[in-house]
Amino acid sequence: MPEYRWPDRNERQVLGKRVSRLDGPDKVTGKAKYTSDVNLAGTLHAKFLRCPHAHARVTSIDTSAAESLPGVKAVRVIQGPGKEVQWSLDDIAVVAAVDEATAEDAVRRIAVEYEVLPHLVNEDDLGKAGDRTKPASEQVKGDPDQAFQDADAVVEGEYGIPVITHCCLEPHGQVIDWSGDTLTAYQSTQNISGMANQFAQPLEIPAANVSIVQDHVGGGYGSKFGADSWGLETARLSRETGRPVRNFLERDAELFVAGVRPSGFARIKVGAKKDGTLTAWEAESWGTSGLSGGGISMQVLPYVINPPNVRKKHTGIATNTGPARAWRAPNHPQTCWLTFAALDDLAARLEMDPLDFYLKNLNLTERPDLYRKQLIRAEELMGWRKKWRPRGQETTGPVKQGLGLAFHTWGGRGHNSTARLVVDPDGSVSVSMGTQDIGTGTTTVIAMVAAETFGLPVNSIKVNTGRSPDYPRSGPSGGSTTVGGVCAATRRACQLALEELFEKVAPRLGVEPSELEAASGRIRVKGKPFRSLTWKQAASRLGVTPLEVTGRNISASRRASDGKLIDSGVAGVQMAEVSVDTETGVVKMKKFVAIQDCGLIVNEKLADSQVYGSLIMGISSALTEERIMDERTGSLLNGEMEFYKLAGLGDIGQLVVEMWKDAEQDARGVIGLGEPPVIAPVGAIGNAVANAIGVRVPRAPFIPRRVLAALEEKGGLYA
């Protein structure tokens, strides 16, 4: 068995290069087909009747008028009389009809009566949660009471961030074609290999008879791992009608029932010594994940920086709202903001530059050395020392400038993945894996790893993904685990294939297999590059039988022989510069610096791109993004993109992204990147706002209403 490792840095031909994504041209020309573009002959359209109440019991349902409408092929009741519905827009019934309009008309003909029950949909005020609270037990470390007594500075504050939604541009949905005893699901998903069983078990069909198909996906962010209740209903409709059935959620349902991020609020007290040494932390946090209570996880609060004395308590609040799903770096963005807001207020009380405060306390983190280096580099790119002024600066004019920072961590170990590699006698190479490219460039990095290992051009590698069971299993794209999983599996498969190929080629070149290497499109004798065969000539030695091998990445495996293909655990530092108009409360991004490590960087262009996308998502969450519920009716008020406010180009400012490329990190192998850079923006931006206006805006997003309210409470920069 070969020794699995990456080539030395100075020997790499492809890895680390700025290779443009292979699916780019298809995406920009519209040639790329997303699941929502799938249009099979004879397709029926599904529409759901959704509950208008936040909490109600169905007392009666009459579908006869819908059933008798011409063009309607099936009507199914999902939650009939007696069922207790726990959030608005939940599925009550579904119709399949020959076109979308007919299905919608039919849905409106279904008569449902409800017994309306009491609801709670807003959790920002813990005092109003009543019997909806689900407190967890208090956790204590060290002696927080003594530590607060001994502290030279103690600051208390209340901070929060509301529920936001995944807001996938391509909504959740599928086209299901149930034909005979096989089911083909064209599914918008980030979990190709894990999908078949989710259809098979509830529908009582052998998993082997379920095929999953997807070529491109328009966003998932952690919300598209499941078959979903509506996916199963769509399948049942297909079985019942014998025709393909298509279902994609309406925007309001997409925003409300298909995935949200838990909210996080906390009253936080922090204490430090005069010299800035952080000694004590106390937090009472709350939030919601929907009916389950939940909210943010106490395990990552305080975030990244762990003082010796800690007391914490969390209360989940059960709300009648759509259930939370994993949202890009679950828990981290919220607890990062809560933590760095409190610490920033403490630094201000100590009259310390927060940069110095954090440098002083890095021993309380797991990566003090890396954070230190990254903070110093971020300082250079931002010009922090030159620009930074203490809070409450006396400058003329209503527009104030401010700087803020926060940093983060994430795991990102590659998941279980199996790659099937085929080298055909004509020299063509394909890598097949039941993974998915959720816009991160997965197919491109697979091709790059194969190209690097074989010494071939990237575009000569054919990568097959997005099919199950056709291609070997790979993991879901969550937790930033894909890049490590697919790269390690591909590398192993390629190295195994080379070993076999060298056996075939060695006699021809009159050397031992171990004396051969693959480089520059040739198989050649190490140190004697002129003794070689072209890749094509070498492949022809296979005769008529293609060479097929599989390479696996086993996430839990840390055998020494695995070498350093992948690792887990990253840092990352971010700094924000904002301007705040103190007369209008409008916050504008000026500049944002993100320093990010992720071990060995497979493709620096795609890595940059991941960070840019993360920052834009983070800026939305900081400046405008918020789910807004009407407490009286229990319904979602901003279920349309005109009201659910995402940042556009004009809102983003200058983004400065620098990937961390030192030899020490590179030697760790590939680590996932999708999540870490989305964590710190709200913290960095929130602190920049506080620095600019001299007062904390305690809750995100930092919209004019909240900025002006914070200024007014302070005594007002405006009359």
Binding site: A101, G585, D630, S635, G650
Partner: protein, 329 residues
Amino acid sequence: MKAFEYASPTTKEQAIQLLGAQWEEAEVLAGGTDLLSLMKTFGATPRRVVDIQGIREFQGIDYIASSGLRLGALATLSELIDHPAAQKNYPSLVQAAGGVRSQQIQSFGTIGGDLCQRPRCWYFRNGLGYFPKDASGQDLVRQGENQYHAILGNSGEAAFVSASSLGPPLIALGATLRIFSKDGSRELPVAEFFRTPQQESDRETILNPGEILGEIHVPPAGQVLNATYEVREKEALDWPLVTASVTLKLNEGKVEQARIVLGHVAPIPWNAVQAAKGLAGKAIDEDTAAEAGAAAVAGATPLSRNGYKVQLARVAVKRAILNAVMGGA
């Protein structure tokens, strides 16, 4: 969307024949940026859609120095933004149209459509009407999420804000509009076009179901300085929190005549008459502009969550006045 009949007349006479006596019978389609989204959510369910885009005489923008600016109701926001004479003489109009931060809406949305668009109130858009109430009769807006609602003109039931971006500058510029019906046409000041609905069956304008808004006439700007200032939460597509449009006629550095009209603060564009009068005879500087801003919101009656809009309105008026004088945007 409810199934409907589609008609595409090419003359205003044909179009008028196709309209009904009730709103449910027919709706006028121009750019479609508002009507289509309302129809998709059953916020509008006309039996017939009368597409007036083929009516040539409602198209285009013409400028003659002696008579002013004629805006066809079908001219798009983009046409207005790109029109050199509008840019030079009526910056308040161009700035207001530019505040509609969607390239798609600028390209498809029409000037007439901007004036006729329905409220953006999220209770209204969720099908709860002008005066949303819960089952027990409680006022949802006043007890709910009213952060984007009215701070002025809200003493009656209505608390939504007029959605028009162009209404305020057109009123400040003294524009008139022409409405066509079976009985011929009538011309009236844009200021009289808007009204606060008193019952759910009312509309936010004086247009009757059988009428079509055809064109708008803006008098010559002459030496009238004008500007619009808008406050939004984001730069990308977003509805204004507050806008202020002002016109100022100066004589030897002193204000001879002023108009100040606020947008998105009341169910109609809000003509701040007293604030404008207060400017008469004064030179414009930071202080007089700020005084006018304060006067414009003197009678404000904010709701539980929109007190901040009083501050925004005050500042928007001040900045619009200063921008008008400095010629800035």
